[in-house]
Amino acid sequence: MTTTADELTIERRGRAGSTARRRTNFVIFLGPAIVLTVLFFVVPVVIDIAVSFTDLSRSLRISEFTTEQYEKVFRTDRRLSQVIALTFIYVFGTLAIFNVTFGLILAITTTAIRNVSGSFFRGVWLLPRMSPSVLYILLWLWAVSPTEAGLVNQVLMQAFGLDAPLDLLTSAPIALIIISNGFIGASMGMIIFTAAIRGIPEHLFHAAAVDGAGTFAKVRFITLPALRWPISFVTIYQTLSLLVSFEYILLLTKGGPFYDTTVYALYVYRRAFESGQYGYGAALALFLIVIGVVVALIGWRFFDMERLLQRPRIEVH
């Protein structure tokens, strides 16, 4: 009797203890992340919404609550449509050419060759990501300098006999921002895809070879299907990061010439900080948040991320 009662008590205590522990664990493990998310994401969004309904301008004073910022966004801002169009070109151009496609090519090629050479090339492609952004862009500015001393012009004029130096910053600014961002973006895809390729059991490749599969067939029928999930993740993650970051563009072209390379995030920055229209900047920023959330949700559905998050897909048993 007593033993049963004792067992029951222990069991109850144990249960009570585990409930308490579950709560404690929740606080310990998720608490910091929740606090940080609220502090650095939710609170700024709330502040941004509040500011967008004021006339906050260069001296940080609010004299009235108003919807005029939104009227400006929808009615009078003629730049906006051009800016949004450019943003999509920039985001999808960088993604399609570099962050996903080129990252994939790098991963496949560097895992197909000998390990030492593969690691060396991956290391080289990581250099842009490791170097400080100012230094990286400074190298770009030297490379595309419109004078004869610019690296690109030296190559074109001496090796290809071009007559006059090219001024790529004026003639092809959008291509430049896509390439300079892409060189950095490609390395992230490369690392993730490389890890995923390494996770594919080797016997599958041997089996395919026995069946007479060539290199392309192996890539087409083994590697790519196994990379579906990492590709989905890289696409969504990089889309969001490209939507909101503009440091390389600001350093390379300052958003110019004219407004040619002013992507949405940089446009918000220029409006708010170069002319002191903080209320208007906040209203524009709110749309950027909305665009980001919408893109994330579309990506979530399109790539069926729910399944990706359930369990690893590339382990074959």
Partner: protein, 457 residues
């Protein structure tokens, strides 16, 4: 035991007595009150004495206060801002004032002063200026107008300069112009005989017939100089009747047209606004450009020390020179622009009187001349002209000739923002994104959408 008590009491009494004596002796020292005045200044290599003179002036003011028997002493703390230009600096400072952390005194470009006045951040100075004629009585009246807002004076002029088109005489001679023509250009510009388009023509000859790559170069960022071009085509940007910003489409298009023709003729580089400031200077001072639209202080801060242009007047004018902003057509009026920097005092400073007196001393003839001759800026008082150092600094004397035709940027609180839009228009034209007409429309649309009270004609 008792002797211990007596001893202790004696010790305590002695300590108390000594403490009181020391306290009484120190009383005059304690009564001296140090007033800390904070000065906001941009780190600007073209004018390190702007804040430097205020620091020196504190010594003079303290001597004066001592002589008066005042217990107050002034101490200046300089707060340096790393802003790249006066516009960025003003926006930064407006925010600082906005959160109640503003300095007591600040240095600003004159066209921003009414932005501070509009928000109530800056002290009205008319009464103080009248009270201290020994400090402010002889400052050039024309300079005061750059420190005024609609209801009074809000700043004290600190310096002035002149903006012009520098030109390389050697290149012009190489391009086939004779020495008489080249040397007569400044006079012709002043009399309205030399026109803006003739400058482009001369520049084109230089580009076509010499090794020089560029015809006309101008600053690569937002600033005052290129406003000269707009002034000469009749854009004053202010409606004299209302004081509001005024944009006249045809006059804007005419000014933008000059930039457009310059780029079409391959005289102004399409990437002028993408180039670095120092690179542009290098192109001009090393003989790769015919004209450089900038300001007189560039000689003292860059041309002489960095590129070794001759410092002797005669030797300089043998191969180099400058013209004022030419007229739009023959017989028209030439223009020049001066862009005074000003001292201003915060509206909420605890010691306005002391701040005014401090700036009065900082505006002393000898200190202001120190700044003028070391950085090639124009002085603020006629007495400075008698200073042998000033007289020896020939660029100043020669630039002073332009002051009779010189204009200011409008003292409108929104002009800084409008100038940003105008600069974007120039960038649009030069990079081939806009025509002159489209640039005029762009400025009008953009200004109407983002600024308040803009009159469009």
């Amino acid at each position: 035991m008792i002797h211990w008590k007596i001893g202790t009491a004696a010790l305590l009494s002695a300590a108390l007595a000594a403490g009181s004596a020391a306290f009484l002796a120190a009383t005059p020292l304690l009564a001296q009150e140090t007033v800390k005045l904070e000065l906001w200044s941009r780190q600007d290599p073209s004018g390190p004495l702007r804040p430097g003179n205020v620091v020196k002036a504190a010594e003079r003011l303290n001597k004066e206060l001592e002589a008066e028997g005042s217990p107050k002493r002034v101490e200046v703390a300089v707060r340096e801002s790393p802003a790249k230009g006066f516009d960025d600096d003003a926006l930064q400072l407006l925010k600082v004032f906005g959160i109640g952390e503003g300095p007591d005194i600040f240095i600003a470009a004159h066209e921003w002063i009414c932005a501070f006045q509009e928000d109530g951040f800056v002290l009205k100075l008319d009464d103080y200026i009248a009270k201290y004629p020994q400090h402010f009585g002889t400052i050039f009246p024309s300079l005061w107008s750059s420190a005024k807002c609609p209801d009074g004076t809000y700043a004290i002029p600190q310096d002035a300069e002149a903006r012009m088109f520098f030109y390389n005489k050697k290149l012009l001679r190489e391009a086939g112009y004779d020495a008489a023509f080249v040397d007569a250009m400044p006079e012709r510009a002043l009399s309205g005989d030399l026109t803006m388009d003739e400058v482009l023509e001369i520049a084109k000859q230089v580009v076509d017939k010499t090794k020089a790559q560029y015809g006309v170069l101008h600053r690569p960022n937002k600033g005052p100089d290129y406003i000269m071009v707009f002034n000469t085509y009749g854009n004053d940007f202010i409606d004299p009747a209302t004081g509001k910003l005024l944009l006249e489409r045809d006059k804007l298009a005419a000014a933008f047209g000059w930039f457009e023709r310059g780029v079409k003729e391959k005289v102004i580089p399409a990437n002028n606004t993408a180039m670095e400031f120092d690179a542009l200077r290098k192109e001009f001072y090393t003989g790769n450009a015919a004209f450089w639209m900038y300001g007189i202080w560039d000689l003292g801060s860059v041309a002489f020390p960095t590129y070794g242009l001759p410092q002797d007047e005669k030797a300089f004018f043998a191969d180099w020179g400058w013209i004022t902003g030419p007229a739009p057509q023959k017989g028209g009026a030439p223009v020049s622009l001066t862009h005074p920097i000003v001292y201003a005092i915060a509206a909420d400073t605890k010691e306005p009187e002391l701040a005014v007196r401090l700036l009065g001393h900082a505006s002393a003839v000898d200190l202001n001349t120190d700044h003028a001759v070391t950085t090639t800026h124009l002085g603020i008082k006629p007495e400075q002209l008698e200073d042998p150092r000033y007289a020896k600094a020939w660029p100043l004397a020669r630039a002073t000739e332009l002051l009779k035709i010189t204009k200011f940027l409008p003292n409108n609180s929104q002009f800084g923002e409008l100038n940003g839009i105008i600069f974007a228009g120039i960038q649009g034209i030069e990079s081939g994104r806009l025509s002159a007409e489209q640039a005029a429309d762009f400025v009008i649309e953009e200004a109407s959408a983002t600024l308040e009270d803009v009159t469009v004609k």
